[in-house]
C-alpha cells in the first residue's frame, strides 16, 4: 500500500510502510548508507506526518520483513498478545504517542502494554517523539529483574563493572574489578569481554570472577562475554555461568552472521537454568540471560532487508524479551560513524533504544560510548549519561576512567557512576547496597574515603597481588 501527503504545496509519496518508516527517522548516517533515508528535511517531516495517521492495526497486519523468510518476524507474531492489543488497535501512531505520554499512564499501566506492542509499533511511535519525550515516557516504566540480586527498582541505578584486559590477565582483570567495587559499582554484573575466544580462557575468567564473588560473598552476577557456544562449552567443562551472554540483531540473517539462531538461545537458556538449579547459590530469581544490541548491526552484515536501523533495533528487543533477560543494553556509540555519525546521532539513538526497550518490557541499560573515529568525545558521553539517568536507565558500564584497554573505545567510568547516583539521588541494587554497607565501603549512603578498615583490607589484598 502506498502513501502520499502534501506539505506546503509539495507532494510526497511513499511506496510502502517500509519507506515511511525509514524516512520518518531522525537523521542517521546508517540509514543514508543503506540508501533509505529521507532526501530532505521536508521529506522527513512528510513521512512523520503520514506515519502519525497510520493505525497500529495496519502496522501489525503488514510485517516489514516477510515472516516466511525471517524467524524474527515469526517470533514477533507468535509472541504478540492480541487480546491486550485489541483496545489499542484502533489508535494511530500519533495517538499512541499521546497515550504513552499521558500523566494517567503510570508504570503499571504502561507495563500492561509490553506484550500488546510489537517492536515495529514501538519503533513507529519513537519516530514521532522528541528527545525529551523519550526521556519522559521511559522514566515512567520500571522493568525489574532478578538473578543473584534485584535490578531495576525505582531509585536504583546499577553499574556493570567491565574490567577488560588486552591479554586476559586474570590478576589485572580482578584488580580493575576491585577498583570498581570500591566505587560501589558491580551490582548489575562483573562482566569481562575476553580478548581470546577460547574455552580455556573463558573458563579461567569465569572461575576467577566466581572466586572473587565467593571470597567476599558479593551479591552480584559474573559473566564472560564470549560467543554463546564458547560459554556453554565452558559450562560443560565445569565453569560457573551466572549469566549467559550473547550479542543480538533484529533479523534472522544478521543473527546468522553472529553465528546464532533462536533455537540456540532457547537451548542455551534451558541449559543455564538447569545449571543454576544444581549450584549452591542463593538465587533470588531465574533471569539468566544478558544481551547486547546496537543500531546498525544488521546493515553491517548486509542483512537489513531495506528496513531502517531504528526499526531493526526494536526487532532485536523482540528477540531479547522472548528469553526473559536479566540485563539488556544497547552499545550505542560502538559501531562507528558510518552508522551513527556524531554526538547528536549517538545521543538520539541512545534515547530511542532505551525508550523502546523499556516500552517492550526489557530491563534496559546502556553502554554510553564512542569510538575514536566518531565525531564525539567524553563530553558527549557525559551528556547522554545524564539524559539516560533522568530517563531511568537500569544500568551503565563502569570502566576504569572510561578507557577500555581491550576493546579500544571509551565508555563510562566508576567516577561517572558516582556522579550520576549523587546527582539524581540513586542507589545501587538493594542486596548489593547492604553488602557495601557491611564492608564499610558505603556508610550512611556516602562512599567512604580510603581510611575504612574493610576498604583497606580489600586494597591490602590488591597490593599483595602486584
Amino acid at each position: 500500500m502506498s502513501y502520499s501527503i502534501t506539505v506546503r504545496s509539495e507532494r510526497f509519496s511513499f511506496a510502502d510502510l517500509r519507506e515511511v518508516f525509514a524516512k520518518a527517522n531522525e537523521d542517521k548516517s546508517g540509514d543514508r548508507l543503506a540508501g533509505i533515508a529521507a532526501g530532505s528535511e521536508q521529506e522527513r517531516v512528510a513521512a512523520k506526518l503520514v506515519l502519525a495517521d497510520i493505525p497500529l492495526a495496519d502496522i501489525v497486519a503488514n510485517p516489514l520483513i516477510d515472516p516466511t523468510q525471517d524467524e524474527v518476524s515469526r517470533l514477533i507474531l507468535a509472541t504478540h498478545d492480541q487480546a491486550a492489543f485489541r483496545p489499542l488497535a484502533h489508535l494511530t501512531v500519533g495517538e499512541l504517542r499521546e497515550y504513552v505520554l499521558d500523566e494517567g499512564q503510570d508504570s503499571a499501566r504502561l507495563g500492561a502494554l509490553h506484550w500488546a506492542i510489537i517492536p515495529e509499533v514501538a519503533a513507529a511511535v519513537t519516530k514521532l517523539m522528541s528527545n525529551k519525550d523519550l526521556v519522559m515516557a521511559a522514566s515512567k516504566i520500571r522493568n525489574i529483574t532478578r538473578c543473584r540480586n534485584t535490578m531495576g527498582q525505582p531509585g536504583v541505578l546499577g553499574i556493570r563493572v567491565q574490567p577488560n584486559h588486552p591479554a586476559d590477565d586474570l590478576g589485572g582483570i580482578l584488580l580493575s574489578a576491585v577498583d570498581g567495587l570500591l566505587f560501589g559499582c558491580g551490582d548489575a554484573v562483573i562482566g569481562v569481554n575476553p580478548a581470546t575466544e577460547s574455552v580455556e580462557t573463558v573458563s579461567r575468567i569465569l572461575h576467577g570472577l566466581q572466586r572473587l564473588i565467593a571470597a567476599y560473598d558479593i551479591p552480584t552476577q559474573s559473566c564472560c562475554l564470549a560467543h554463546i557456544s564458547t560459554q556453554l562449552d565452558s559450562l560443560e567443562r565445569g565453569a560457573p555461568v551466572d549469566l549467559l551472554f550473547q550479542s543480538l540483531a533484529g533479523t534472522e540473517a544478521a543473527n546468522a552472521s553472529f553465528g546464532i539462531n533462536l533455537d540456540m538461545l532457547g537451548e542455551g537458556r534451558e541449559r543455564v537454568l538447569e545449571h543454576h538449579r544444581n549450584r549452591e547459590v542463593a538465587w533470588v530469581g531465574d533471569a539468566v540471560m544478558y544481551f547486547e544490541t546496537g543500531q546498525g548491526s544488521a546493515l553491517s552484515a548486509n542483512a537489513h532487508h531495506d528496513v531502517d536501523q531504528l526499526t531493526l533495533e526494536a526487532r532485536t528487543y523482540g528477540v531479547a524479551r522472548a528469553f526473559a533477560p536479566f540485563l539488556v543494553n544497547t552499545v550505542v556509540g560502538f559501531i562507528g560513524p558510518e552508522y551513527l555519525y556524531d554526538e547528536r546521532q549517538i545521543v538520539r539513538a541512545g534515547l530511542e533504544d532505551h525508550f523502546m526497550g523499556k516500552l517492550l518490557g526489557l530491563p534496559m541499560g546502556c553502554d554510553v560510548c564512542y569510538t575514536n573515529h566518531a565525531q564525539a568525545d567524553q563530553n558527549s558521553a557525559d551528556n547522554l549519561l545524564l539524559l539516560l539517568t533522568a530517563a531511568g536507565c537500569n544500568y551503565f558500564m563502569g570502566v576504569p576512567c572510561a578507557d577500555d584497554v581491550m576493546l579500544s573505545y571509551q565508555s563510562t567510568s566508576f567516577h561517572d557512576a558516582l556522579s550520576a547516583r549523587q546527582l539524581f539521588g540513586l542507589r545501587p541494587a538493594p542486596e548489593f547496597l547492604a553488602w557495601l554497607e557491611q564492608m564499610d565501603i558505603v556508610r550512611n549512603g556516602e562512599l567512604m574515603a580510603a581510611d575504612s578498615p574493610a576498604r583497606q583490607r580489600l586494597e591490602g589484598a590488591v597490593k599483595r597481588i602486584a
Partner: protein, 262 residues
C-alpha cells in the same frame, strides 16, 4: 604485565598498576577525576583521533627494504579517500577493478596460506607489527610445508575484503593483518582476521579473529603461533568461524593472593 614493579614511595599503588594498563586506583576529586587524570585522558584522545586520520605511505612507512624483501605491492579497495573510507564500509570491503587484476596476475592461486596487510583504522599498528609478524608466519608456513602466497597490501581496507581476495586467489587459509581502531592506550594494536577458503557471502560467523596484537596485549611470537595453530585447525576442520575455537590461550599469572585474603 611483564615490566618489573617499580616501587614509588610517594605512590604505594604504583606497583599494582603495572599489572594492567587500565587506569585503576586513580583517586577522585568528589565524584570527578583528579585534574591530572582528566587531562591525560584528553591528551590520549587527541592522539587517537589524529592516528585515525593518518594515511599510509607503504614505501615510506614500511621501508623499501621490507617491500623488496617480500616482493610486496599495494592495491586499493573501492574507497578513494580516507573520508570516504570512514563513511562507506561497503566500498572498503571490495577490491577495485585494478586491484583484482593486479593480484590475479601477480599472486599464485591456491596458496595454502595467503597473508594480506590492510591499513584499517590504524597505520601505526601496521607499521609497528606487520613487519615483525610476516617473517614468523612465513617461517611457520615453510616448516609445515605450506605453499606461502605472495603477500600484498590493501589501502582503505575493511575486513570484508577477505571475500573478494578469496574469490580471486582461492587460498586455503587467508589471513588479513589489519590496523585496529586506535584506543586511548595504544594506536599500535593489530588484528588478524582469518577465514578458510573465503568467498562471496562469508560473514563474521565464518571468520576467526586474533585481536590486541601489541606490546600490552598479545606479543608477536604468540600472535604468530596462534595464527598458525588456527590455520592448522581450519585445515583440519575444513571450515572457519564460530565452530572453530582456539585451544589453550594464555592467562599470564593467577590471582591467588587476592582471593586467599579471607
Amino acid at each position: 604485565m611483564k615490566t618489573p614493579a617499580v616501587s614509588n614511595a610517594r605512590d604505594p599503588l604504583a606497583a599494582i598498576r603495572t599489572r594492567t594498563p587500565a587506569r585503576i586506583f586513580t583517586g577522585r576529586s568528589g565524584s570527578a577525576y583528579r585534574t591530572r587524570t582528566q587531562l591525560s585522558l584528553r591528551s590520549d584522545h587527541a592522539a587517537a583521533r589524529d592516528a585515525v586520520q593518518t594515511d599510509i605511505d607503504w614505501a615510506g612507512d614500511l621501508g623499501p627494504d621490507f617491500l623488496r624483501a617480500w616482493d610486496m605491492f599495494a592495491v586499493s579497495s573501492q574507497a578513494q579517500s580516507k573520508a570516504e573510507y570512514l563513511m562507506r564500509p561497503d566500498l572498503g570491503r571490495r577490491l577495485n577493478a585494478r586491484a583484482r587484476a593486479e593480484i590475479a596476475s601477480r599472486c599464485p592461486v591456491g596458496a595454502d596460506l595467503q597473508i594480506v596487510i590492510g591499513d584499517g583504522l590504524s597505520v601505526a599498528a601496521v607499521i609497528r607489527q606487520a613487519p615483525q609478524l610476516l617473517p614468523l608466519l612465513h617461517a611457520g608456513a615453510e616448516k609445515r610445508g605450506w605453499r606461502f602466497g605472495r603477500p600484498f597490501a590493501v589501502r582503505y581496507c575493511r575486513v570484508g575484503v577477505l571475500n573478494d581476495i578469496g574469490e580471486a586467489l582461492a587460498p586455503t587459509v587467508l589471513v588479513l593483518l589489519i590496523g585496529e581502531r586506535p584506543g586511548l592506550l595504544t594506536a599500535e594494536s593489530l588484528s588478524a582476521y582469518m577465514a578458510y577458503r573465503p568467498h562471496s557471502g562469508h560473514t563474521d560467523a565464518e571468520r576467526n579473529l586474533i585481536s590486541n596484537i601489541h606490546a600490552h596485549g598479545v606479543d608477536i611470537e604468540e600472535a604468530a603461533d596462534r595464527i598458525l595453530c588456527l590455520a592448522e585447525l581450519m585445515r583440519r576442520a575444513q571450515l572457519s568461524g564460530v565452530a572453530v575455537k582456539e585451544e589453550g590461550g594464555r592467562l599470564t599469572q593467577n590471582a591467588q593472593p587476592l582471593l586467599s585474603d579471607e
